[in-house]
């Protein structure tokens, strides 16, 4: 008993920082980043897709070699880098992670390895965007979720349009879906500036990329810091940055970086807590989820019914087309369908994000509904159709008045269950910038640096929406079983 207690006490002690020793013993430094962030940070070599390139890849290798270990890359969604670091998925996070007051409270930052400007871009043919963040009020401004640029916009009271990739906001800016993009200058230089339709409006506050380690791993942070110092002083960092063409005068400040600079950079960590405004935003986002799901289902039900009827009663061509639709939509991920509909077809048809979300989900669910109705219609006894025909009804009339109402009734419990699934699947539309409940939860969770309470709230809201439907489906099933 005593042994157990003392073992528990040791494990819980914060003094037990063996992070550096652990890494040296393992011989591996695991670093987390997101390949989706793309060039120049980390990207697949176009000639050898299995090989990773980018200035952060080179820097990770240089750091590992200073520490006498090997670098091991761990892929992780960018917006979840900090929570993954906290739970030990990797040893350090290095992926254009800006030093923000919200982050300094949860992780340890090394000295910065890159200085970036926050660059505002707009269309050439749109003079209404000027070099003043206040002028952006009421405009749709795209940026990356939970980024330093997003924080600057929020501080001005501007609710950004959230993107998860780096290329998509500029694509949408060209397409006219948004009015401006506010992003790190590295990203603007690669994805925005090469587009002839776009112009740079201006650069705003400098920001800093630093390497993050877990809050308890002081020895690791200090070792990485020292290694970085060596890499900077030896000119190796400049070499790495020049390789990707991103060295500029801003970086000179990194060479003479002092402890005072570092203190100023880290500042006082801001303690952000869950506030009423978060709760209200959650309920609003739940409303978005609900409206989105209802409208998508309003497309899926009639479209699915049409597909089922075509498949069962159409001639060979019509039936084949309906079958192909069902197989295509069921056989490919809805995420891919949303991407294609929103970004892929932007040149052909320019849907706004919310409309694209409704149509994308509706067309996807129509395929599932078609199969549910087909089963329901086929479960209606053949004699029902014969009786209707023998009374002089035409086949379409018999379908409409006799077979389909009964088939739909048989399908209704499944339709209700599908609607519950749709409520949850609707979270996928965040990839095309619609902020619904799950996206709101991740934004808030990173903001308040806690996943537990926002996660529970989010779950509770989903449950409140789906449980009544679940009860309804059960009652329908019971009623069907009786008759």
């Amino acid at each position: 008993m005593v042994v157990l207690l003392s073992a528990w006490a040791c494990a819980g002690s914060p003094a037990a920082d063996d992070s550096l020793r652990r890494i040296k013993e393992a011989g591996v430094l695991r670093w987390g980043a997101d390949v989706q962030g793309g060039a120049p940070y980390i990207y697949e070599d176009p000639d050898h897709p299995e090989k990773l390139r980018g200035f952060e890849v080179d820097l990770a290798e240089a750091l590992a070699s200073e520490l006498g270990v090997k670098a091991e890359f761990v892929q992780n969604d960018w917006s979840a880098l900090v929570p993954s670091l906290e739970r030990g998925t990797f040893d350090i996070a290095m992926n254009g992670l800006e030093v923000t007051p919200a982050r300094t409270g949860v992780v340890l930052f090394t000295r910065p390895y890159y200085v970036f400007a926050s660059r505002l871009m707009a269309r050439r043919d749109d003079p209404s965007v000027v070099a003043d963040l206040d002028s952006l009020k009421g405009k749709r401004v795209g940026t990356l979720t939970n980024s330093y640029t997003a924080d600057q916009l929020l501080a001005k009271g501007i609710e950004p349009v959230y993107y998860e990739g780096t290329d998509e906001p500029y694509q949408d800016l060209v397409a006219g879906r948004i009015d401006a993009v506010f992003h790190d200058d590295i990203i603007a230089g690669i994805y925005g500036e090469p587009r002839p339709q776009l112009r740079v409006v201006g650069d705003f506050a400098d920001g800093f990329y630093s390497i993050a380690t877990p809050k308890t791993d002081h020895s690791l942070r200090d070792a990485v810091d020292a290694a970085l110092e060596k890499i900077i002083q030896s000119g190796k960092l400049e070499e790495i940055l020049r390789k990707e063409n991103i060295w500029n005068d801003r970086q000179i400040g990194l060479i003479a970086w002092s402890d005072a600079d570092q203190r100023r950079l880290l500042g006082e960590p801001v303690v952000s807590t869950l506030r009423w405004s978060h709760m209200i935003a959650f309920v609003q986002a739940a409303g978005v989820t609900l409206v989105l799901s209802i409208l998508a289902m309003a497309i899926a039900i009639p479209l699915g019914l049409g597909l089922a009827v075509c498949r069962l009663y159409g001639n060979a061509v019509v039936s084949r087309v309906a079958e192909a639709y069902v197989e295509l939509y069921r056989g490919t991920p809805v995420l891919l369908q949303l991407y294609v509909l929103y970004y892929g077809l932007a040149d052909v048809i320019k849907l706004d994000a919310f409309t694209a979300a409704i149509i994308g989900l509706g067309m996807n669910y129509a395929a599932y509904e078609a199969e549910v109705y087909r089963a329901g219609i086929q479960a209606v006894p053949k004699g029902q159709m014969e009786a209707a025909l023998s009374l002089g009804m035409s086949t379409p009339l018999a379908l409409r008045r006799v077979v389909l109402p009964q088939g739909f009734r048989l399908a209704l419990p499944s339709v209700t269950n599908d609607f519950i699934a749709l409520l949850k699947d609707s979270s996928l539309v965040s990839v095309i910038t619609v902020v619904e409940l799950t996206k709101r939860m991740t934004i808030t969770a990173v903001d308040v640096r806690s996943w537990a309470i926002p996660g529970l709230m989010c779950a509770l809201l989903y449950f409140v929406m789906s449980y009544p439907l679940s009860l309804f489906a059960r009652r329908l099933e019971a009623r069907l079983a009786r008759s």
């Binding site: 009786a387 025909l389 023998s390 009374l391 002089g392 035409s394 008045r401 006799v402 009964q406």
Partner: protein, 248 residues
């Protein structure tokens, strides 16, 4: 009013109907009997186009049905089906409608009657089949006998010139057979043209004007019930009726 000429139908090598020619006059009540697989039900279902046939023709009230199924006969079928009603062995009431709803459906949507007109007719017919009190009952709430009587009322609501009945009492509990036969007897006495596929020999003998025996896809006996049932010419009819087994 119904003319069947050289009707043929086969499933692969198996001949279901083999060169059948028949004529039915208005007001006739005809019983079709014979062993199962003899072609009785198939003949009946050909008459209103629920089955297609391979050769010959059917003429009903001036409309001609030819081989080729529903597609070829679409226009004729629409007219024929309003002239002849059908009653099924398994009733086939619309499960999602009440007794009343079943009866008014076709008059409203096919004939264009108003809901009031159709309902009035339906109530009268329900009373006629002894179910005036069951208008609001759903099929699953009714006995087989009740459902079959509603099905008869449903067919009559279209005011058909003839009624085709495919073994209307075969799926009923024995104690429910009488109530349906009573309704049919009353209809026969009222002068309705009826073709009934049946195993009820008493009905065939006492109610019908004419009895047909089908065997192997051909009509092997055709005549008044007394003649066919008491003194059949064909030995297969005698075997079917069990007349050879004992002295009579």
């Amino acid at each position: 009013m119904i003319e069947v000429h050289a009707l043929c139908k086969a499933y692969g090598p198996r001949k279901i109907l083999n060169d059948i020619s028949l004529s039915f006059a208005a007001g006739q009540v005809v019983s079709l009997i014979g062993p199962s697989g003899g072609g009785k039900s198939t003949l009946l279902r050909c008459l209103n186009g629920l089955e297609s046939f391979d050769g010959g023709s059917i003429e009903i009230g001036g409309q001609k049905l030819v081989p080729g199924g529903a597609k070829v006969n679409a226009r004729a079928l629409a007219a024929v089906r309003q002239k002849v009603g059908m009653v099924f062995q398994q009733w086939n009431l619309f499960a999602h409608r009440t007794a009343l709803g079943n009866i008014i459906e076709a008059p409203i949507h096919v004939k264009g009657l108003s809901v009031a007109e159709a309902s009035e007719r339906a109530h009268r017919l329900l009373k006629q089949v002894g179910l005036g009190h069951r208008a609001d009952a759903y099929p699953h709430e009714m006995s087989g006998g009740e459902q079959q009587r509603v099905a008869i009322a449903r067919a009559l609501a279209m005011e058909p010139a003839a009624l085709l009945l495919d073994e209307p009492t075969s799926a009923l509990d024995p104690e429910r057979v009488g109530e349906v036969l009573d309704v049919l007897t009353a209809l026969a006495r009222g002068g309705l043209t009826m073709l009934v596929v049946t195993h009820e020999m008493r009905f065939a003998r006492e109610v019908s004007d004419r009895v047909l025996v089908l065997h192997g896809g051909t009509v092997i006996e055709d005549g008044p019930p007394a003649e066919v049932l008491e003194r059949p010419q064909n030995e297969r009819t005698r075997a079917f009726l069990g007349l050879d087994r004992g002295p009579r």
